[in-house]
């Protein structure tokens, strides 16, 4: 791990009309980190992801990826550089079977270029590669699940499919927008090892979560947003102990047992 941050946010600001969805948010992300972003509803978490990935244009501020300013590039070019994202509302390609869903990212210029997938790349069989990726993400190869239409898959598999879609790009950073939400406890328990494995493989992760207990299991740094402003950044322990965070989440009354609410 070197000391150069892989992603730097410098005073990122986004206004919708007169409202500051993000107000001067700055932070550094280091390689192989898992950064959790938490905050109450409407605090600008998803807007932050949209700004980084170019889905909306920030009003001012800049995002540096390996020292290069990417804040004015179109979304597909940012994805092409290796910053993948999942969506909070999963919308796979419903009219395609699950494994064909991955053919699309595998068809992208980045996947053709990096092509490190076994048999992937320009001439590889994308169907075989996508089954491989799905298996890594917990789709049973021998079952019929990878061949099911995406519209028939249950939520847990759709979340995995979202992650698989990112993985097919061989990304350097994945921004996960609430991958745990809407899942049962056992489904989350089976997702956590997948996330940890991504980190071991050297992928840097930004995770937006409301499930704090599971997030603090995997994240090594946490950033708290409130009304578009950065409240605090630190290790999970530091963040939980902070008074401002408790106020943002639970109001200004004193709260003893935070864990029970998480």
């Amino acid at each position: 791990m070197n000391n150069q941050p892989i992603l730097q946010m410098r005073g990122v600001t986004k206004t919708f009309g007169g409202i500051f969805a993000l107000n001067e948010v700055s932070f550094d992300l280091f390689e192989s980190d898992i950064l959790g972003i938490i905050g109450p509803n409407g605090s600008g978490k998803t807007t932050l992801v949209n700004c980084i990935t170019g889905f909306i244009k920030m009003t001012y501020g800049e995002v540096l990826f390996r020292g290069k300013n990417i804040s004015r590039r179109p979304a597909y070019k940012i994805a092409d550089m290796g910053i993948a994202r999942t969506f909070q509302i999963m919308r796979p390609y419903f009219s395609l079977p699950a494994y064909k869903n991955l053919v699309i990212p595998l068809f992208s210029p980045r996947a053709k270029r990096t092509g490190g997938w076994r048999g992937g790349g320009k001439l590889g069989d994308r169907n075989a590669v996508s089954i491989d990726i799905l298996e890594e993400m917990g789709f049973e190869r021998e079952s019929y699940v990878p061949y099911k239409m995406a519209s028939n898959l249950p939520t847990g598999y759709l979340k995995r499919l979202e992650l698989a879609r990112c993985l097919a790009l061989k990304p350097e950073i994945i921004l996960c927008d609430e991958v745990f939400s809407g899942l049962s406890m056992s489904e989350i328990a089976s997702m956590v090892p997948l996330i940890e494995r991504l980190q071991i493989e050297g992928i840097t992760l930004i995770m937006i979560e409301h499930r704090l207990r599971e997030l603090f299991q995997v994240a090594n740094r946490v950033l708290v947003l409130n009304f578009g402003e950065k409240l605090i950044e630190g290790t999970p322990g530091e963040v939980m102990a902070d008074k401002k965070v408790k106020e943002a989440y639970f109001g200004s009354e004193k709260v003893e047992e935070v864990e029970t609410y998480a």
């Binding site: 990935t53 889905f55 979304a75 597909y76 070019k77 994805a79 092409d80 993948a84 994202r85 969506f87 919308r91 796979p92 390609y93 419903f94 009219s95 395609l96 064909k100 869903n101 053919v103 699309i104 990212p105 595998l106 068809f107 992208s108 210029p109 980045r110 996947a111 994308r126 169907n127 879609r165 990112c166 097919a168 790009l169």
Partner: protein, 337 residues
């Protein structure tokens, strides 16, 4: 068994043409099962000019093929790329005028001017539609409906390209067999070509653009590029039909921008079955001859036409092809619940 205590159970026959590059054909029976529908369609279209009784009906075949190409283009754009295009008249007009100009001014024969008008017309149509590509659904439809009206008015107002008279004296095909087989082969070529295309990886990207364009962007794919390619392919079909129309009518004029060319393909797609590609072609082969047969009713023609359309939509809203595919590919039986 009473109604309500039983339901229809459907089982796939399970014969697939391609499974992982291996031809899964076990017997002549299966081979026949798979090739029969295709052979019936191809042979049926090829013998059509031979069995038609008169010059009039042979001309109807040509018109049917023109509408078949337009319907195919509509179905491809609407159900595989997600761009509902009412630009049929725009494509026909562009292709038609270009072919007419090439033929009358440069003296190019139909077999040269039609391919050129196909490509050049597709380029022009794509350039016009390019700024509208970020639009989706009904908004794209409104814009594409506007273009033929716009071009027609420009030609009328500025009195260019023959003005309201149109371009007269366009050369015709030398041989009526060439004339008919050319367009029939083109329909077959585009039909099977498009069916192949939508199942290739690039075709999957088109379908993904329809399903969820945000995820396509997030996959590092340039959305605008693939939409442009799709519009180019679709408009090339329409421009080919337009160039051909100019040569069989020996004239290119303002009626090439008529709304018929935009609207009838939609009706054909609804009747034939949307998203099947074959369906819209069949739809055109049903609708256009019906419209000709109904000429006997004089002014009541449009009433009967509307009734037939209505009947299709009420009783077979899924479309002939979807219904047919289901009956052909699945066993059905009633089971007790």
């Amino acid at each position: 068994m009473e109604i309500g205590h039983r339901r229809k159970e459907r089982l796939d026959r399970g014969v697939k043409v391609r499974t992982e590059g291996l031809y899964a054909l076990m017997s002549w029976r299966e081979l026949g099962y798979l090739t029969m529908p295709r052979l019936v369609l191809i042979i049926g279209m090829l013998i059509l000019p031979l069995v038609m009784p008169s010059m009039y009906w042979q001309r109807v075949i040509s018109i049917v093929c023109i509408y078949a190409l337009l319907s195919l283009s509509f179905d491809f754009l609407a159900h595989f790329v997600g761009l509902v295009s009412l630009g049929g008249a725009f494509f026909i007009g562009s292709g038609g005028y270009i072919a007419a100009i090439l033929n009358t001014i440069l003296g190019l024969p139909p077999m040269v001017s039609i391919p050129i008008s196909t490509l050049l017309g597709a380029v022009i149509c794509t350039l016009f539609l390019f700024p509208c590509l970020p639009l989706r659904g009904v908004y794209f439809a409104i814009i594409t409906l506007m273009f033929p009206l716009l071009l027609g008015r420009v030609i009328e107002a500025l009195d260019i390209l023959g003005g309201t008279d149109g371009i007269l004296g366009v050369g015709s095909f030398t041989n009526s067999w060439v004339e008919q087989y050319f367009i029939i082969l083109m329909v077959l070529f585009y039909l099977f070509g498009m069916r192949r295309l939508v199942n290739l990886d690039i075709g999957l990207v088109f379908r993904a653009v329809m399903d969820n364009d945000q995820a396509v962007r997030a996959s590092g794919i340039n959305l605008t590029y693939y939409k442009t390619v799709a519009v180019f392919i679709a408009s090339s079909m329409g421009c080919l039909a337009g160039g051909y129309l100019a040569h069989i009518y020996m004239w290119a004029g303002l009626s090439m921008f008529a709304l018929d060319f935009s609207i009838l393909p939609i009706a054909a797609t609804v009747i034939g079955g949307s998203g099947t590609l074959v369906g819209p072609v069949l739809g055109a082969f049903i609708l256009v001859p019906i419209s000709e047969l109904l000429r006997a009713f004089g002014t009541l023609r449009i009433v009967f036409y509307a009734l037939i359309l209505l009947a299709f939509i009420v009783f077979r809203s899924e479309g002939i092809m979807v219904y047919g595919q289901r009956k052909y590919q699945q066993f059905e039986k009633w089971v007790k619940v």
